[in-house]
């Protein structure tokens, strides 16, 4: 596979042909903010947090969906990009209910971390606070729609890694919801194997393990690399 050289935030980096800007930057220690991207899953470009500026292109590009090219000049952290990202996070916070003090993932939430990192200390938009359902029908796991940011990580991990495709997104616009099977309660889903992968990859407290307190509800996303490397390369990395 051939190698490409490009400049990211003033630093020359090398990447493999076909690699995304996001992953090449990550390998070189430049961590672009993201919510929907998760290594080991396919990319959907849903959250737009990873937008970057590419010299010579007018439009911002999602780095998780854009492949590297020779001599590309990329900027990942300009004031304009930071302002965009702040607004995206505020939109997410305003859309549903993200009151961290009553969330089981408080302190280990990717959305909360991102808000802190971007300096979002208040939301300029009027919060919608729709009263959405909490599905506690599964014996081991729960789903709180109020915390869901529709990143579809759960949909992809269940489809691509577990192979069950229990989740999908129904509806559109502000009525979009993650669903299990034909929209029945999760506990009645015939396809769910209760593997827990969706809970582990969910960036927020939308999917959680039952009976965990704020102190011990922590998510492990490292398992994905292990499973995906094992499947694709037949290598079981420690």
């Amino acid at each position: 596979m051939s190698v490409r050289t490009l400049e990211v935030d003033g630093k020359m980096i090398t990447a493999l042909e076909g690699q995304t800007i996001f992953s090449a930057a990550w390998d070189s220690g430049i961590h672009i903010p993201r919510l929907c991207h998760l290594g080991g899953l396919s990319d959907v470009g849903a959250c737009r947090l990873c937008l970057v500026e590419i010299e010579g292109q007018k439009r911002l590009q999602p780095s998780c969906m854009t492949k590297v090219a020779e001599d590309m000049v990329v900027r990942t952290n300009t004031p304009a990009l930071r302002a965009h990202r702040r607004l995206i996070v505020e939109l997410l916070l305003a859309e549903r209910n993200h009151v961290c003090s009553v969330c089981v993932l408080n302190g280990a939430c990717e959305l909360q971390d991102l808000a802190a990192q971007l300096g979002v200390d208040h939301v300029r938009l009027r919060p919608q606070y729709p009263k959405l359902e909490v599905d506690l029908s599964h014996d081991r796991f729960g789903l709180d729609h109020n915390r869901c940011i529709l990143c579809t990580r759960c949909v992809r991990v269940c489809d691509e890694v577990e192979g069950a495709h229990t989740w999908d997104v129904a509806g559109r616009g502000k009525n979009s919801r993650v669903i299990t099977d034909l929209g029945e309660p999760w506990g009645e889903s015939a396809s769910c194997t209760s593997c827990g992968k969706c809970v582990q990859v969910c960036p927020t407290g939308a999917l959680f393990s039952k009976g965990k307190t704020v102190a011990d509800m922590r998510k492990d996303r490292g398992f994905l690399r292990y499973i995906v490397t094992a499947r694709e390369k037949k290598l079981w990395i420690a």
Partner: protein, 164 residues
């Protein structure tokens, strides 16, 4: 084909749906076309129907529901009932509103209608008024109303927004 026999043996709609799916070789890529065919046959997409389509096209049920709910043209509950609001404000009452009410009640054999008496809608000059499936009819005569009802029945009694 004798309809009587067909009805006893299988629901002809099932066969028609099967044919529609076969036309696309039961390919998951034809999901939208198949959903269309199913809705045309059954009027709406019930959970058992969606489950069957998922099974036949070998798709995960959640994707079938996800795709179906993304498009506004699919419905998931039986078509809405018809409704009529007969104005029984003073002017409409005097102009024969109660007779129109009785006419509507009479044709509502199976109780599938929502028939209500309304209060003055502010168009007394056009009395009597009937709001028929959400659309106002003015200076309504019994014959006109009966014709309109017949039209509704002849069109298969489908809901006002069917096929939208």
């Amino acid at each position: 084909m004798s309809l009587d026999n067909a009805a006893q043996m299988t629901d002809p709609r099932e066969e028609a749906l099967e044919r529609a799916m076969a036309r696309y070789q039961y390919s998951g890529d034809a999901l939208i076309e198949v959903l269309h065919a199913a809705q045309q046959l059954y009027g709406y997409l019930s959970a058992p129907l969606l489950r069957k389509i998922a099974r036949r096209l070998m798709l995960p049920p959640s994707r079938v529901l996800g795709v179906a709910t993304f498009y506004h043209l699919f419905r998931f509950a039986p078509a809405q009932h018809h409704s009529a609001v007969v104005c029984l404000g003073t002017a409409c009452y005097a102009a024969g509103g109660t007779d129109l009410m009785a006419t509507l009640r009479r044709q509502d054999g199976d109780g599938g209608w929502t028939i209500e008496a309304g209060r003055c809608v502010g168009s007394c000059g056009l009395a009597p008024i009937v709001i028929y499936d959400g659309k106002p009819m003015s200076k309504v005569t019994r014959a006109q109303l009966e014709a309109r009802i017949k039209e509704t029945h002849d069109s298969g009694n489908t809901a006002p927004d069917a096929g939208r």
